[in-house]
């Protein structure tokens, strides 16, 4: 299929030099990869749609505007975190072990939420609390960025360490208790907007759109991809790699701060157990790659996969299925997506 699309590869067929066979072989390998990509991408969209159909048939309430709005609202926190992780994955490259990953995101959200709640309880207004939470998130991002770009620690280890520190700080701050918080902003965020859809759902959509515009439609985004995919190529194009990587971790830290604020509004305070969100967030960001033609992380792909994961949870709840099944399904999804993309990428590099 790709042979005709590539005039050069096709024209080699008549030649007699040894390299001619290689050119042809590479093209057919490309065709194989394309089919596999199509299957993976089409397959996951098909699964997405199939899950929606099954749930909407078996649980009548599933496809109502109210339920969809709820699912969007429930996805907001994990969605914002997953978008932060997506940007880190773009700038760090596709390799899960040595590439971009931010394990500290969930803990970051927990600490930022605790800071917000603590400030709010101490009598500070919304503005101070928001600034405090965002600054906390950003500070964690700065620590990550320094550890990775200055000290040269692989992101997997650097953010694992930061995750533990952050989780510890949260315990110190909250004494492992729930800190309730109230305020105008929280009331607004936890309420409903037009069409009786939760405000959080609008927040998620808005945040996704802004992030998608920056990442998918600006030179900055394009360079971010170049830095992650092929740092030498980025350098050869006159880009310095480290500022991009540092910037990505700053952004993901900031996302942790935002998610912290959202979680305070959603739970009416700061609660323990933020770390439980790590697995769903990583699943979401990894799964997002199968929604892109190039099998790379994209913001919209991440939104789709966040919705997919939430619909899955929601459907299980509506059908009264055990929620313990959900983490099992999430784990399987990680295995599937990572092995599928790894295999495809291996083909790509050997071709």
């Amino acid at each position: 299929m790709s042979v005709e699309a590539v005039p050069f590869g096709g024209s080699q067929q008549g030649g007699s030099e040894p390299a001619q066979t290689r050119g042809f072989g590479a093209s057919s390998g490309t065709a194989g990869r394309r089919i596999a990509t199509l299957l993976l991408r089409g397959g996951s969209l098909a699964v997405f749609v199939a899950v929606l159909i099954v749930f909407s048939v078996t649980a009548p309430y599933f496809l109502s505007v109210g339920n969809i709005g709820n699912v969007l609202g429930q996805s907001a926190i994990a969605g914002v975190l997953a978008i932060g992780l997506t940007v880190v994955m773009i700038a760090g490259g596709g390799n899960v072990v040595t590439g971009g990953i931010d394990l500290s995101l969930a803990a970051n959200m927990g600490l930022s939420a605790a800071v917000y709640a603590a400030l709010s309880q101490a009598g500070f207004g919304d503005a101070v609390a928001v600034a405090g939470a965002l600054a906390m998130g950003l500070a964690i991002g700065i620590v990550n960025a320094l550890a990775i770009t200055l000290a040269g620690i692989v992101p997997l280890l650097a953010t694992l360490a930061v995750m533990n520190v952050v989780a510890g700080l949260e315990l110190v701050l909250t004494q492992n208790t729930v800190i309730p918080a109230t305020g105008d902003l929280l009331t607004l965020l936890s309420g409903s907007g037009p069409f009786d859809i939760p405000v959080l759902a609008y927040v998620l959509i808005g945040f996704t759109l802004v992030a998608a515009l920056v990442v998918q439609a600006t030179p900055l985004g394009l360079r971010l991809y170049a830095v992650g995919e092929f740092p030498e190529a980025a350098r050869a194009s006159g880009l310095s790699v480290k500022p991009f990587i540092a910037g990505a971790f700053l952004f993901s830290g900031f996302c942790g701060g935002i998610a912290g604020i959202l979680s305070v509004s959603y739970l009416s305070g700061s609660t323990t157990g933020a770390g439980d969100l790590l697995l769903p967030v990583v699943v979401t960001a990894l799964l997002g790659t199968v929604f892109s033609r190039r099998l790379v992380p994209t913001v919209i792909g991440t939104l789709l996969s966040a919705l997919f994961v939430s619909f899955l949870v929601n459907g299980f709840q509506l059908l009264n299925l055990s929620s313990t099944l959900v983490s099992g399904v999430q784990g399987l999804l990680i295995l599937f997506v990572v092995s599928a993309t790894t295999l495809l990428r291996k083909q790509e590099t050997s071709a």
Binding site: S2, A5, V6, P7, F8, G9, S11, Q12, G15, E17, P18, A19, Q20, T21, R22, G23, G25, A26, S27, T30, R33, R34, L213, A217, T218, P219, L220, G221, L222, R223, Y225, A226, E229, F230, E232, A233, A234, R235, A236, S237, G238, L239, R294, L295, V296, E348, T349, A351
Partner: protein, 513 residues
């Protein structure tokens, strides 16, 4: 294409004077001068290690010279950075294709200088794709679907995208580093037509190649580097491939090489019609006991792949390998080692020895079975074996328990060979065995190779150092673009003759534009 404005500057485009550069103790460049005239195609040739890549890295601002002066467009530059070089309009077409595989052709061409939709911060993808299609069509007559990803392109197309990237920046100087290594003839011809057009547009081209035929056809002037010096700069019209080849190699073969009297025994290894499409084709040869067989060829000629295949690191598509008269199918290095094959790889610090293990541990690493009793290592036996081999190979070390990291390059190489002696291997594949070792150690390694052969082993030496091959081998096989171009009897050949086969200048394979 921007035709370079006539700024009245008529001096040379690039003038390097007295450039010196050392890495650690080794001198890579000792006083190189190079003058590249405006609008000319200037060839740069030299053997591996002659200093070509160091010189190019200096010009690219990636390295800084220890001494000497770099003058570009009439201005002397003391602190060249890659960025400054870019701004001066000098662009490099690297051997490795530095393109992001998941980018479209358009994105790859404009990365770093992306067009924006007027008045917004957003990428103008349509303009990128339109411009990409335009430029590719204009220079190469190539119509690629604009949404094609780099990963889906052939090697030649990737090369073209990379050249086009440079052209978009309206370059004054283009430096091509071995551009045809991965191209078939048709594609190379296209590249040559393009380079001639660039010359007509008054763009200065520096062209680095091993293929002397290309230099003859394409270049106006050629500079030959040897051992970190520029030994000659000549107008191509007044020289020949043979003369250039002669200048490239140092023909003083002294008493470096041991005298040996080859007593050839039974056939140890026979290779019949071995092929892997695109790497090597229909390779057949035999190796006898007591024989030292040289193997040489350019990067991409398939010699490396051939050696890797023999050791089970790659699988051939077709063909047969016999060891001791029995057909074998070596799928893994472990199987190869059991068949008494030994590989001493080129990058010894990464693949040949374990730097942080002791000499004794390294020496016995491939033959631990012999030193194991009831699943436990017998340290005494290991040390005894190591001491015996240290003695036999005259490895200079503080003792068998010294870390290999503390040894000199030549002695590390001896440890890498001792490892296989301990395993009683009989077929030795030595990949560039003397790369990066000093002359004294070279002599010792040559002596060691001669000893191996004298004791009845068969040795295959892969080397790009032709005088070395002529000095130590009985026969030399030359691969050119995947095929055996010549099988030469060492006593009846010369460096010039081998070099002619290596570079393809003895054949009609030379590119004709």
């Amino acid at each position: 294409m921007a035709s370079p404005q006539e700024d009245g500057n008529i001096g040379p485009m690039i003038r390097l004077t007295g450039i010196e550069k050392s890495f650690g103790g080794t001198k890579a460049l000792s006083g190189v001068s190079l003058t590249v005239e405006r609008g000319s195609v200037h060839g740069l040739v030299g053997q591996n290690g002659a200093g070509k890549s160091t010189l190019i890295k200096l010009l690219a601002g990636l390295l800084r010279a220890d001494a000497g002066q770099i003058e570009i467009d009439g201005v002397v530059h003391d602190h060249l950075t890659p960025h400054a070089v870019d701004a001066l309009g000098i662009h490099f077409i690297h051997q490795d294709r530095l393109l992001v595989p998941t980018f479209t052709v358009g994105e790859s061409l404009f990365l770093g200088r992306e067009p924006r939709i007027a008045g917004t911060p957003f990428l103008d993808r349509r303009k990128m794709q339109r411009r990409a299609a335009e430029v590719l069509d204009r220079y190469f007559g190539l119509r690629l679907p604009t949404s094609t990803l780099i990963a889906e392109l052939s090697t030649a197309e990737k090369q073209i995208v990379q050249i086009t990237r440079a052209l978009l920046h309206a370059p004054k100087v283009l430096v091509f580093d071995e551009p045809t290594a991965a191209l078939v003839r048709r594609e190379a011809d296209m590249l040559f037509r393009l380079i001639r057009r660039l010359r007509d547009d008054r763009i200065t081209v520096i062209y680095i190649s091993h293929y002397l035929g290309e230099i003859e056809d394409l270049c106006d002037t050629v500079t030959v580097l040897r051992n970190g010096r520029d030994v000659a700069t000549k107008p191509v019209a007044e020289t020949s491939a043979t003369e250039i080849a002669g200048l490239m190699v140092n023909r003083e073969i002294g008493e470096l090489y041991p005298k040996r009297t080859a007593a050839l025994g039974a056939t140890l290894l026979r290779v019949e019609g071995l092929s892997t499409p695109g790497r090597y084709e229909d390779v057949s040869f035999a190796l006898r006991r007591g024989e030292v067989l040289g193997l040489t060829g350019l990067l991409g000629s398939g010699v490396k792949d051939l050696v890797r295949t023999l050791f089970g690191l790659e699988q051939p598509a077709s063909g047969r390998v016999e060891v001791d008269g029995k057909t074998v199918w070596t799928k893994t290095p472990a199987q190869a080692a059991r068949r008494r094959l030994a590989l001493v790889p080129e990058d010894r610090r990464r693949h040949g020895v374990a730097l942080d293990l002791s000499v004794a541990e390294n020496v016995t690493l491939a033959s631990l079975d012999r030193f194991t009793r009831f699943g436990l290592l017998n340290g005494g036996a290991e040390t005894a074996e190591a001491n015996q081999l240290i003695d036999r190979l005259q490895i200079k070390t503080d003792g068998s328990d010294a870390l290999v990291r503390t040894l000199s390059g030549g002695n590390q190489q001896k440890v890498a060979i001792a490892k296989w002696l301990s395993r009683h291997s009989e077929i030795y594949l030595l990949d560039e065995p003397t790369v990066g070792v000093d002359v004294g150690a070279k002599v010792e390694i040559y002596q060691l190779i001669a000893d191996l052969a004298a004791r009845g082993a068969g040795v295959i030496v892969l080397s790009s150092d032709l005088p070395e091959l002529l000095g130590i081998t009985d026969r030399i096989l030359v691969l050119f673009r995947g095929r055996i171009a010549a099988a030469l009897d060492t006593s009846e050949t010369s460096v010039d003759a081998v070099l002619a086969d290596v570079t393809g200048s003895s054949e009609a394979l030379r590119h004709v534009g």
